[in-house]
Point group: C2
Chain length 272, copies 2
Amino acid sequence: MTVFVAVQQAGYTDTMLPSREARLACRNGMASSTAGVANGFVQGNLAILPEKLAGAFHRFCQLNPKPCPIIGMSEVGDVSIPALGLDLDIRTDVPRYRVWRDGEVVEEPTDIMQHWRDDLVAFVLGCSFSFEEALMDEGLPIRHIERNVRVPMYRTNIACRPAGPFAGPMVVSMRPFKPADAIRAVQVTSRFPSVHGAPVHLGHPHLIGIDDIAKPDYGDPVQVEADEIPVFWACGVTPQAVIASAKLPFAITHAPGLMLITDLRNKQLAVL
Amino acid sequence: MTVFVAVQQAGYTDTMLPSREARLACRNGMASSTAGVANGFVQGNLAILPEKLAGAFHRFCQLNPKPCPIIGMSEVGDVSIPALGLDLDIRTDVPRYRVWRDGEVVEEPTDIMQHWRDDLVAFVLGCSFSFEEALMDEGLPIRHIERNVRVPMYRTNIACRPAGPFAGPMVVSMRPFKPADAIRAVQVTSRFPSVHGAPVHLGHPHLIGIDDIAKPDYGDPVQVEADEIPVFWACGVTPQAVIASAKLPFAITHAPGLMLITDLRNKQLAVL
């Protein structure tokens, strides 16, 4: 597992980074989508589990790095993740959480102070916001961003490798591209394995169990034009779907689209 | 333009490389396809032009590096290309040549001793054999090799950038892949820009002017199965098509499939 190092370890401790500013705003009650917030900084999917389940979840991520790329995790019971952010408190710094009991969301609070326990482990997983920034830097148009809707996501027939109680199909996100742009998108996102990396499929949705591209299982539909091909990336919703279907007694995640903003720069995640 | 250095410059002068052995066989009259010959060594497309046209052709290659990646060229009137092979003689070491006059092939000799002139410049351009080796090393199946036919090639509606009398459409070669393999093929061939590099198109042949995938303009047709997508690479036949349509008074090329075998290793061409 790659280990990333946030900027405070490079001597930036006095600087109020836009990422830290955003986390402090969340801590003070801001509870809106983090899309477009603190541009250039890595945002992450969150999964918090009791220690007795954390080992199996960690193995699940290890076995399924494309949907579940770990960019940081906490020590047991520790609310900080120094590698991901200065002064980060995982109990308060995400805009909105989901508290799961027996596979159901029972609450969507803006902090989890009341739910925190000394046996909890927090996992932060890479998110497509990072590679979307790289695609847009390259001049590649991203349909759902242009349309100001959520990315369409689909449950597939691609089985994740199971670990302990964690099992289920991979969830993918879809972005349509003209063919030459799709080729460029493969190249660009290949540089970012810690935020889902290269696509897992393109061109034939039905081959991965998607019967109707117009009906995503999560997010909003976007049009795939006749001169485009749909390109599919492994999606960070996968662990939430898996946590739901495992019907764990207790887990906490972020609410979709309301992510943890870290002090890592998206550019730091490029392997080339 | 990248400059490559063949192995004799690294102290291998005493070794009879399989590539040199193949060139000597050609010099002695062997005139068969070089597919599968001297595996691991770079093979090249050949274009020989009078000096007064060579400048424009060089610019054409510079402007169109995907179909026309230069891996070596001779000094004016020089029959050797030291960077590409020990003891290489461009007049004899290709299995079969094509002599062009006014845009027509007038002869297909096994050497060009009688045609050589002191004003000629030889260009050696990268060829898909190199990236096909890389694809096969990766375990990706290549349909036309499995079927033992020539790769299907198509004239497209993608215009090359013109230079002097050189102009015309890009010719592409096609290999069908299952979607995940197509993504891997983009990654693998991206490492080899000097032998056409990443694909130029995938998925929608008609968008690049290919009306019937079953009817290639050169080579042999291969089936694209329902669970596959056609992937298109810029092809080294492009300069021959351009030389033909430029109706140059005089030019020499290799005969298709009967290439110049160099002492460069395919692996040396990888940029990563």
